[in-house]
C-alpha cells in the first residue's frame, strides 16, 4: 500500500487544482493571519496619549470591552431595551445576519431578562461577569439560538468618550495582556487565531480535489483497466484518500511552522521559536487537519454516492456557510470547522475545550466512516459498468434506451 500511496502522491503533484489550493491557502495566510492588524492585536498594548477621533461635540477615543459586571450589565440592558422598543433582533441564518421580528413570547423573555439585569445593577458587586453572561445565554435560548446574545456572536462593549476613560481602558488592556503572557497564553492564542483563519480555506478547497479523485478513473477512460484488477477497494480508495490527505496536510503543517516562526520573529519573542512551532503544529493538527481530512473524505464519498463531483462540492459549500459564523463559541457537531476569531479570550477557550474536543473527535470518526463508505460504494460501482453508463446517458440525453443500446455493444 505504501508504494501505491507514493504513486498517488506523485499524481497529486501533477494536478493543477492542487497548486491552486496551495495558492489559496497561502493567500489566506498572508491576508488574514500574517497582517499588521494581527501583529497589533498580538503585541503588547502601547500606553500613549489618547487621541480624539470623533468630534468636539461627540468625542470618541475608541472602543472598550466591559471592564466589570456593571459595565456588562448596563450594555446588555441597553441592547435588550433597543430590541424590545424596535420589536426586532438580529439572528444568524446560514452564516448571514438577519433582522427578525420578535414574537410575544420572545418579547416577554427580553422583558424578564431586563428585570434581572436591573436587579444586578442595583448591587453589581454581588454578581460575577459569568452570571451576567448567563442571563444573555438564557435570552439567546429563548430566541431560538444564533442571536446576538450568544457568547461570541454579540459584543457588549461601549464607546470611550473621555480621556480618563481612554487611559483607564489602555491600562486595563495592558493588564489583560500581562495576565495573558503570565498565563502562557500568548502563543496558544496566536495559534488559535492562525487556525481560525486557515480553517476557512481548509473547509472548502480540498473538496474541489477530492470530489473528482475517484471519478477520474472514468473520465480518463481508465476505469475498465483498474476495475478488472485484483486491488481491494480498501487499498485502492484508502491509498488515494491517504495520499491526498497527507499532501494537503503538508501545506498546512508548513504554514503552521512559518506562522509560529513569523509570530515569534515579528513580536520579538526571543528564544521561543521552537515552542511557538510546536504550539502552532499542535493546534493545526487538532483543529485544522480534521476539517481538511473530512473535506477529502466527504468529496470522495459524495462523488461515489451521486457519481457526480459537483454534488458534494455544492453540499460542502452549504456546510461551509453554515459553519462560518459565529466567530466564537459555537462548536456543535454540525460545525465543519472551529471558529475562534480572537487571540485573547483564553478563559472562554478553556470553557469550550470539551465542546471543541467532542467536535474534533466526531469529525475524525466521521472521516474514517466516510472514507470506508467511499470504498464500499466504489466496490459496488465497480461491477456495475452498465448502471454507470445508464446514469451518464440518462443525465446527458434523458434516454435510458440509448444507454442500453450502447451497453449492447
Amino acid at each position: 500500500m505504501m508504494a501505491l500511496i507514493g504513486k498517488e502522491m506523485r499524481m497529486t503533484l501533477r494536478s493543477l487544482v492542487f497548486y491552486l489550493f496551495i495558492i489559496a491557502s497561502v493567500f489566506f495566510y498572508f491576508t488574514s493571519y500574517a497582517t499588521e492588524e494581527t501583529w497589533g492585536e498580538l503585541g503588547s498594548p502601547v500606553i500613549s496619549t489618547p487621541q480624539n477621533v470623533g468630534t468636539i461635540e461627540h468625542p470618541y477615543y475608541g472602543w472598550k470591552q466591559p471592564a466589570d459586571t456593571r459595565d456588562l450589565a448596563e450594555q446588555m440592558r441597553k441592547e435588550m431595551g433597543w430590541n424590545l422598543d424596535a420589536g426586532t433582533s438580529q439572528k444568524i441564518r446560514l452564516g448571514f445576519p438577519f433582522k427578525v421580528k420578535l414574537n410575544e413570547k420572545e418579547k416577554t423573555a427580553l422583558s424578564a431578562a431586563i428585570s434581572q439585569l436591573d436587579e444586578v445593577l442595583k448591587n453589581p458587586d454581588k454578581y460575577t461577569m459569568d452570571e451576567v453572561n448567563t442571563i444573555a445565554e438564557s435570552v439567546n435560548n429563548q430566541l431560538g439560538g444564533k442571536s446576538i446574545y450568544q457568547q461570541g456572536l454579540g459584543e457588549f462593549g461601549s464607546a470611550i468618550e473621555t480621556v480618563d476613560e481612554a487611559i483607564k481602558a489602555q491600562e486595563a488592556d495592558l493588564a489583560r495582556y500581562n495576565a495573558k503572557v503570565n498565563a502562557g497564553e500568548l502563543l496558544p492564542g496566536a495559534a488559535r487565531y492562525f487556525s481560525d483563519y486557515l480553517s476557512l480555506p481548509a473547509g472548502i478547497f480540498p473538496v474541489f480535489l477530492s470530489a473528482f479523485l475517484l471519478l477520474r478513473d472514468r473520465s480518463s477512460r481508465m476505469n475498465e483497466l483498474i476495475y478488472s484488477r485484483r486491488i481491494s477497494p480498501w487499498v485502492y480508495v484508502g491509498s488515494k484518500f491517504i495520499a491526498q490527505g497527507v499532501m494537503l496536510s503538508m501545506i498546512y503543517l508548513i504554514l503552521a511552522v512559518i506562522g509560529g516562526w513569523q509570530t515569534v520573529d515579528t513580536l520579538g519573542l526571543t528564544g521561543q521559536t521552537g515552542q511557538a512551532i510546536v504550539i502552532f503544529l499542535g493546534y493545526t493538527a487538532w483543529w485544522l487537519l480534521p476539517t481538511l481530512w473530512i473535506s477529502v473524505a466527504f468529496g470522495m464519498f459524495g462523488s461515489m454516492l451521486f457519481r457526480r463531483g459537483i454534488v458534494p462540492i455544492a453540499l460542502q459549500i452549504v456546510w461551509w456557510f453554515m459553519s462560518v459564523l459565529p466567530l466564537l463559541g459555537s462548536y456543535g457537531l454540525n460545525r465543519l470547522f472551529i471558529r475562534f476569531n480572537s487571540p485573547n479570550d483564553y478563559e472562554l477557550y478553556w470553557k469550550w475545550t470539551d465542546e471543541i474536543a467532542l467536535n474534533r473527535s466526531f469529525y475524525l470518526i466521521l472521516t474514517v466512516l466516510l472514507a470506508a463508505g467511499a470504498a464500499w460504494l466504489w466496490e459496488r460501482n465497480r461491477s456495475r459498468l452498465d448502471s454507470a453508463k445508464m446514469l451518464s446517458r440518462k443525465t446527458a440525453k434523458g434516454s435510458v434506451a440509448a444507454s442500453a443500446a450502447e451497453a449492447l455493444r
Partner: protein, 306 residues
C-alpha cells in the same frame, strides 16, 4: 452446431478451462446475452460477431465489470461470484481505454502492476521490461502515453493485460489500428502467451481468427450461433461458394441476386465471389470456402432466420 442444450464443449485439453453455463444478461428490457453456454480449453479462442452481438458484454462479464442476470461462469474452477480470485485469473484489454493524463508508458505499466498485486519493485521492473520488449515499446518507455500512436497504445494495452500473467486473457479488438507487420507480431505474441492459458480474442478481423485460433464462437444478437472448430464452420459452407467472371452490364443487372463475398474489376469484366446454394451464373465454379466466406454464410443464414 448451434442452440444445443447444455454446455457445448470444444477441445479436449485438460488444465485451464472456461465454462459458461446458461449465461444471460439484460439491460432493462433489452437482452444483451441470451442463455449462452459453452466451454473453452487452453489456447486462443476467437469470438466473432457483428456489432451488437453481445461480445463486449460477454467479455465485461468475464472481467467482473458487469454482473450476470442469470447463469454461471467458472474460470479455472472459480465461479464469477468470487470476484477477487477471478480478477487474479483474468487479464483484460478493453476495446476503448486510456490512461491518466501525464503518465508515461512505464509509469502506467507500473501503476497497473501494483493494482494487480505485484508488490516487489524489482519483480515489477523485470516483468515490465520483458513485456515492453515483447510489444516493441522499450524505446517509448519514457514517452507520455498520450503521445503514443494508436498502434503503440494498443500494444501497451496488451502489455498491461499480461503484466500479472493471467490464466485467462481477454482481448477486445486488439489488432484495430495496427499495421500488417504489427498485426503479425501481435498474433505471434498471443500464440506464445496462450501456452497453458486461455486467450479469448474478440475481433472483427476474420483473418486474425484464421491465423491464430483453433476454435471459435460466433454470437449474433445476443445468442450463440456457432461454437466449435474453424474447420467445421468452413465445412458447413462447402459447395455454396462460387466464383464467376461477368461482364459489367451483366454484373450491374444481377448484383443483388446473390450475397456477394467479393467483386474485383478485371478489365471490362468483374471477377465475383458469391454465396449460392445452386450455380448462380452460367460458367460459375464452386470454390473452397475461406473462414470469411463461412462466417458470412453463417450470418446470412442467421439473418434469414431472424
Amino acid at each position: 452446431m448451434t442452440g444445443e442444450q447444455g454446455v457445448i464443449r470444444t477441445g479436449e485439453k485438460t488444465g485451464m478451462e472456461l465454462i459458461i453455463n446458461h449465461l444471460t444478461k439484460t439491460y432493462g428490457n433489452k437482452q444483451a446475452l441470451q442463455d449462452i453456454s459453452f466451454r473453452v480449453g487452453e489456447g486462443i479462442h476467437g469470438l466473432l460477431g457483428p456489432n451488437g452481438a453481445g461480445k463486449t458484454t460477454l467479455m465485461r462479464l468475464l472481467a467482473t465489470l458487469l454482473e450476470p442476470t442469470s447463469g454461471t461462469v467458472e474460470i479455472g474452477g472459480v465461479t464469477l461470484k468470487d470476484k477477487a480470485q477471478i480478477r487474479e485469473l483474468v487479464g483484460y484489454l478493453p476495446q476503448e481505454f486510456a490512461f491518466y493524463p501525464g503518465m508515461t508508458v512505464v509509469e502506467a505499466m507500473d501503476y497497473l502492476a501494483l493494482l494487480s498485486g505485484i508488490a516487489g519493485r524489482a519483480e515489477r521492473k523485470r516483468r515490465i521490461d520483458n513485456l515492453l520488449e515483447l510489444v516493441n515499446l522499450t524505446e517509448q518507455r519514457r514517452t507520455k502515453v498520450k503521445a503514443l500512436s494508436g498502434g503503440m497504445k494498443r500494444r501497451l494495452g496488451v502489455a498491461q493485460a499480461m503484466v500479472h500473467e493471467p490464466k485467462l486473457l481477454i482481448v477486445d479488438e486488439p489488432t484495430a489500428g495496427l499495421d500488417p507487420e504489427e498485426r503479425i507480431r501481435f498474433r505471434r505474441l498471443l500464440s506464445r502467451f496462450a501456452e497453458g492459458r486461455i486467450v479469448l480474442l474478440s475481433t472483427h478481423v476474420v483473418e486474425d481468427v484464421e491465423s491464430t485460433c483453433e476454435q471459435m464462437t460466433v454470437l449474433h444478437k445476443g445468442r450463440l450461433r456457432y461454437h466449435g472448430r474453424i474447420g467445421d464452420l468452413t465445412a458447413a459452407a462447402a459447395g455454396r461458394v462460387w466464383i464467376a467472371e461477368l461482364d459489367r452490364v451483366e454484373w450491374e443487372r444481377d448484383r443483388d441476386r446473390f450475397p456477394v463475398l467479393s467483386a474485383v474489376p478485371e478489365g471490362r469484366n468483374m471477377r465475383v465471389r458469391v454465396l449460392a446454394d445452386e450455380q448462380p451464373y452460367a460458367g460459375a465454379q464452386q470454390t473452397a470456402p475461406s473462414i470469411e466466406d463461412a462466417y458470412l454464410h453463417l450470418m446470412r443464414r442467421e439473418e434469414s432466420f431472424v
